[in-house]
């Protein structure tokens, strides 16, 4: 087995390691060596074993548990970890703490994909066939065995089942879904029609947990295929149909109901005791007695007994709880710059310290002019590259950073940082200088010479050149302040911009859904590695607000939306190609080719580098890194392995 792991590390590991994140922090991950057994367990579980209520720990974790090297030291059992949730729809706050226990996961440094639920994996040379070896004797949280049958159930009965939900794009290549086969009780194989180099990274992300999400013996009873009396069950549970019943009982990756049923068996380090439901005021999770990871001394993880997550109504009550010392770990919702002073001031009474959360790259604020605007006059002007360049050099980024971001920034367009292997100089740093004279000359050169009474330029048809930038003020409080400065700076080059702040649902509906905006602000915190959507580079997501109809065209395979221009089409093709390339160097070259085309076109305008934010961690909590990557695909903080965190005596 060791041999296989090494080969995998050679192929997708070592080379990626240099490429993924650039800066390597101290290595702390030792891959599992088959054969080490579990010897230690939490005192409460040992009592249960002695009373005959639980099988011994070596039986519970199976013969091939994952062996984890803790960051600093072997821990001691006990205690609670309190993290806060914010009102409704904060289910991903739980997910990020518990972690998506997929077949594979990101290592703590966000540099390579390592085995997780799978004991090891192999990829063929073409990048089409993925074989996963499962852990012998591994069990669900209710003690039933986890085998290849569970994976097959998840893939064939749910992922590939159109009646349940459409097949997620990440399990298809060229429109064709994967084929799954069971080689033996502990081996499964996924085969794709075309090479799919990004597949492992997709599986490591929170949305890639599907193949091992549901336990067959529990969840199959909510499907008509396995239960002849399903109608009775639907009526008894007040559900609308079997799909609703299934979601109620077993949840889905990203809905609150995932954490709503304490009966559902999982592979997570902690299992639900007090569920996340409509009336809940807190969520409590308790250690999973069958968790399949052990530390290097053979102690079963997790160290911490319980997760307690009080549900605060809003960010303010979360902050109050933190300064009152009632939260042990916090990052989500609280890391805006304006909360920093009050959190810093109360470090001592609250008994906590800061840690750093570093975005993988990119920019905190990117202005997207709508290149597919419904206003034909504006569309014509926006599509002139010189116009966009003029706006970029018409901006005084340093002034914005100094006044709005309190100096915490650096002029930047978007894209990975200098230290990252994907760094592309032009994409990130062209047109950053403040040069109003040249900007004026460029605009004059476009024929926008006529000026109105207020000194602002006129469009060729005589109407004033004026557009509105849509923005959500509550999302990032610096955005509106920055836009106010930009409004003044652009007025100096005769461009009339209006800030259009609006409620987030309205923003979403106006921009991503109906394409009614002139321009919009969003972020672009990306390094373009596998598993991230490079939405400022290629129109592939509803956050690509410079060309929403192009996104629709791409996502529907040309059926809906608007056919994009050649340069965009070329990039979309290259992006599909890059996702297929198994060789990291080849993938990098293709992504940089895309970046180079994007730099030629210069479609989006960035403001400042996405510098690290901060979270709080209670004093006395051990094995917590001082700095961690901050990203959805990572997803912070779970890959730092909270199951190895513990309380110092």
């Amino acid at each position: 087995m060791k041999r296989i792991i090494d080969r995998v590390r050679m192929r997708s590991g070592r080379v990626m390691a240099g490429l993924m994140f650039g800066v390597a922090i101290t290595p702390l991950m030792a891959l599992s060596d088959a054969g080490q057994g579990a010897t230690g367990e939490a005192p409460a579980l040992a009592e249960k074993v002695a009373a005959g209520e639980l099988p011994p720990v070596s039986e519970r974790v199976g013969s091939e548990p994952a062996v984890i090297q803790p960051l600093d030291s072997i821990g001691t059992y006990g205690g609670e970890l309190r993290t806060g949730l914010r009102g409704s729809s904060d289910h991903n706050g739980i997910l990020r703490v518990v972690g998506p226990q997929g077949l594979v996961r990101w290592d703590p440094q966000y540099t390579e994909v390592v085995p997780n639920v799978a004991e090891s994996f192999e990829v063929d040379d073409e990048g089409k066939v993925f074989t996963f070896h499962l852990r012998e004797g591994m069990k669900w949280s209710d003690g039933t065995p986890f085998t290849a049958d569970d994976v097959m159930f998840n893939v064939t009965d749910l992922i590939l089942n159109d009646e349940f939900a459409p097949i997620p794009a990440r399990y298809t290549t060229g429109g064709e879904p994967l084929k799954a086969e069971k080689l033996d009780s502990y081996t499964v194989r996924f085969t794709f029609a075309q090479p799919y180099g990004d597949f492992l990274a997709e599986l490591a992300a929170p949305l890639g947990q599907n193949p091992v999400l549901y336990s067959k013996h529990y969840c199959s009873r909510f499907m008509p295929k396995y239960n002849d009396n399903i109608e009775e069950l639907i009526a008894a549970e007040n559900a609308a149909d079997w799909q609703n019943l299934f979601l109620q009982k077993c949840g889905d990756l990203e809905i609150p109901a995932r954490w709503g049923n304490p009966e559902r068996p999982t592979l997570d380090p902690w299992v639900i005791i007090e569920p996340y439901t409509g009336g809940a005021t807190r969520v409590v999770m308790e250690r999973n007695p069958y968790f399949w990871q052990i530390d290097t001394d053979g102690n079963q993880l997790p160290y911490i007994d319980k997760l307690v997550m009080p549900i605060g109504a809003d960010t303010e009550s979360l902050i109050l709880a933190i300064i009152g010392g009632r939260i042990d770990f916090g990052l989500r919702h609280i890391d805006a710059p304006n909360n920093r002073p009050v959190l810093a001031e109360n470090r001592e009474p609250g008994g906590y310290q800061f840690f750093e959360a570093a975005p993988p790259g990119g920019s905190n604020m990117v202005i997207n002019l709508n290149l597919t605007s419904k206003n034909s006059e504006l569309k014509k002007v926006f599509n002139e590259r010189d116009f966009r360049v003029a706006l970029s050099i018409g901006m005084d980024r340093q002034a914005i950073i100094d006044t709005v971001m309190l100096g915490d920034g650096e002029p930047w367009q978007h894209g990975p940082f200098e230290t990252h292997p994907y760094f592309d100089e032009r994409t990130s740093t062209q047109f950053l200088e403040h040069d109003p004279e040249r900007a004026n000359a460029l605009l004059d050169g476009l024929g926008l010479v006529e000026r109105g009474a207020n000194g602002m330029r006129l469009l060729p048809n005589g109407a004033p050149l004026k557009f509105r930038v849509d923005v959500i003020p509550t999302f990032d409080p610096t955005w509106v302040d920055a836009l106010q400065l930009i409004e003044q700076q652009w007025a100096e080059i005769g461009v009339d911009m209006d800030i259009n702040p609006m409620e987030r649902t309205f923003f979403y509906q106006r921009t991503s859904e109906s394409n009614e905006h002139d321009a919009a602000v969003w972020n672009g915190r990306q390094s373009w590695v596998s598993g991230q959507l490079p939405h400022q580079l290629v129109p592939v997501s509803h956050d690509s607000r410079y060309g929403i109809p192009w996104v629709n065209w791409y996502e529907s395979g040309g059926e809906r939306g608007e056919e994009p221009p050649v340069s965009v089409k070329k990039r979309l093709e290259l992006y599909d190609k890059a996702r297929g390339i198994a060789d990291p160097a080849g993938r990098r070259a293709t992504m940089l080719e895309i970046a180079s085309i994007a730099a030629d076109e210069f479609e989006v305008i960035g403001v400042s580098k996405a510098l690290p934010t901060y979270g709080i961690i209670k004093n006395g909590l051990r094995n917590v890194p001082e700095s961690m990557p901050s990203s959805w695909s990572y997803p912070t903080p779970s890959p730092t392995l909270l199951q190895t965190w513990y309380w110092a005596e």
Binding site: N92, T277, G278, R504, T505
Partner: protein, 328 residues
């Protein structure tokens, strides 16, 4: 006579409820986007990514792509049979979600109502009878302060002081160990220990306004000839005031019952949010923000029902207390 009157009022409430349900549903649908849009917006605000295809499938499953009238018909036709549908957000039946929180809402509202009356009645009477005394000025000053301070602000200030100076947490209705415990004597005691803070916070402005109303009404009555007559005939001052002017002045108190019923749910939403009280108000607010149509719709329908019942009850009580009021 009374029976017929009640019957007529109930019969009238049916078309009223129907009209309100349409307006409520229309209002919930009025903001741009739908539950899916706001779901996607909430997730991406936290830096999470959602699957567009999944979202589209959800929208279709929930029937959100249907025209307004079709959605309304689907909802109301089931609602009259007692099935209020499934909450999009929680995948749970709406009726379960609402009833879970109602008991605490009712407890809190009743406690607040009792607190308000117990305080406002005697103070109101005192400050009217002892008009312009020092006691009256003190009570009046406090009353104006209570009226002028929004409840939620009072709650925030109290919470901040409690956390920063006493290291205590005044939010919630239960201690940690009782939060999800089954009901027991110990849990009841725990509730009693916590409930007085929200009761005081919620009760202050209502108390202040009732004191002012009581004082003004009683002052009107105290100079009526019948009071002078009674006094001239040698009735004791205490019996005189309590039996005649107070009985008339109490009229507006009884009218407030009509508003008190819907307040069970909608009252003090912001305060409940600030104090993280597990009552119905915050759930309703969440449902409205998330455009969780069926849950929000059921809440609004319930509010409307409670208003109608509350008005009916207060009308009947008024007639009982004040013999001059007659049913027609």
């Amino acid at each position: 006579m009374l029976f017929l009157y009640i019957l007529r009022r109930i019969a009238w409430s049916i078309p009223l409820l129907f009209a309100v349900s349409i307006i409520a549903f229309a209002l919930i649908s009025a903001p741009p986007g739908d539950y899916i849009t706001s779901f996607a917006a909430t997730l991406s605000e936290s830096g999470d990514v959602v699957d567009q295809a999944r979202l589209d499938a959800m929208r279709e499953r929930y029937g959100l792509d249907q025209p307004f009238l079709v959605q309304y018909w689907h909802w109301i036709s089931n609602a009259v049979q007692g099935d209020f549908g499934i909450s999009f957000e929680w995948q749970q039946p709406v009726s379960t979600l609402i009833w879970e929180r109602m008991s605490l809402s009712v407890t809190l509202a009743l406690a607040t109502l009792m607190f308000t009356w117990a305080l406002a009645l005697p103070i109101g009477i005192y400050s009217a009878v002892r008009k312009y005394s020092i006691g009256d000025y003190v009570v009046t000053a406090i009353g104006f302060l209570g009226l002028a301070t929004p409840n939620f602000l009072f709650a925030l200030v109290l919470m901040y002081i409690a956390v920063v100076y006493f290291g205590a947490d005044v939010s919630g209705l239960f201690s940690d160990e009782y939060q999800d415990a089954p009901w027991s004597w110990a849990k009841l005691v725990d509730l009693a220990k916590h409930i007085w803070i929200p009761v005081i916070i919620l009760g202050t402005s209502a108390t202040a306004s009732l004191v002012r109303i009581m004082r003004a009404n009683l002052l009107d009555e105290l100079h009526r000839p019948y009071v002078t007559t009674a006094r001239a005939k040698g009735l004791s001052e205490w019996r005189l005031i309590m039996k005649y002017p107070v009985r008339i002045a109490i009229n507006p108190f009884v009218s407030t019952i009509g508003w008190a019923f819907p307040q069970l749910i909608s009252g003090a939403v912001i305060t409940a949010v600030v104090l993280s009280l597990p009552t119905a108000g915050p759930l309703m607010l969440q449902a409205l923000l998330a455009q969780d149509m069926y849950l929000a719709g059921a809440f609004i329908l319930l509010l409307c029902c409670l208003s109608i019942i509350g008005m009916l009850v207060s009308d009947i009580l008024l007639a009982v207390i004040d013999p001059r009021i007659r049913f027609r």
